[in-house]
């Protein structure tokens, strides 16, 4: 299985959010175009929402790290960085995110009560819902692994959108 790896390191500040999102979106397009496959294979037929969902998930985790990773003074330590490793393969796109902020118990994050129209607490729910697997290993450093599978199948039914 061919695999390509993209590595990106950004300061732990919201200003770098756009760089992270654009890189993730570009990686999705590469997988869609079959960049990691042998030339004898057709490009992958990803679901319509593949790119939007992975971008959403990575975006929420990035926000979570930056916003909730701040110390009591509202800033992060000088030189704080977030590392991204995007692994593109024939089968999936895996994003491993490593940060040095405070660890937390991801299992203690409740699912939002969507019927009551919450104004917060949706980030982890969005991230979980948008990928096939979200693994978090508390650190330091903390390690997030988001896996989005690229099944070589037809589009998903719109009822699952």
């Amino acid at each position: 299985m061919a695999e390509a790896v993209i590595k990106l390191t950004v300061p732990g500040e919201l200003a770098y959010r756009d760089v992270v999102i654009r890189t993730t979106a570009a990686a999705c397009r590469l997988v869609r175009a079959g960049a990691t496959q042998s030339s004898t294979l057709a490009p992958l037929d990803l679901s319509d929402d593949f790119d939007a969902e992975l971008v959403s998930a990575v975006s929420e985790i990035f926000n979570n790290i930056v916003i909730h990773g701040q110390d009591e003074t509202g800033t992060r330590g000088a030189g704080s960085v977030i590392e991204f490793e995007l692994r593109l393969s024939d089968l999936e796109l895996e994003v491993v995110i490593t940060d040095t902020g405070p660890a937390f118990d991801i299992d203690s994050v409740p699912s939002p009560e969507l019927e009551s129209l919450p104004e917060g607490g949706m980030g982890i729910h969005i991230a979980r819902s948008c990928v096939d697997a979200l693994d978090y290993t508390p650190g330091p450093p903390n390690r997030w692994r988001l896996t989005k599978r690229a099944a070589r199948v037809a589009h998903r039914p719109s009822t699952q959108a």
Partner: protein, 101 residues
């Protein structure tokens, strides 16, 4: 990616068009506009998201705040034009029906 917005008001409705990215960085800008709309006691608000490329949970929170506050005043908020990633997020959070998308 920045956010751009424009407002227009007629006798029957106020329209807020939001374009670009409504996210953790840009949401505070829109929150100011939400405060204005609420203070003006607008009764019918149309949020036009045809130009919106990205939204995150912070952006959704601002729109939910607008919806709740205007509803509390007896008014209504509908969202039009949502597409691509923002539409996927609204569907995921089951807000497409709330916003009459």
């Amino acid at each position: 990616m920045p956010v751009e917005f424009s407002r227009s008001t007629t006798e029957e409705k106020a329209t807020l068009a939001i374009a670009g990215s409504l996210d953790a960085i840009t949401a505070p800008e829109i929150r100011v506009v939400v405060d204005e709309l609420v203070n003006e006691k607008q009764k019918k608000i149309v949020v036009d998201l045809a130009g919106l490329d990205l939204i995150d949970s912070s952006g959704v929170a601002v729109l939910v705040a607008l919806y709740k506050r205007i509803r509390a005043l007896g008014g209504s908020v509908i969202v039009v034009g949502a597409r691509d990633q923002p539409l996927a997020i609204f569907r995921l959070l089951r807000m497409d029906r709330v916003f009459s998308i």
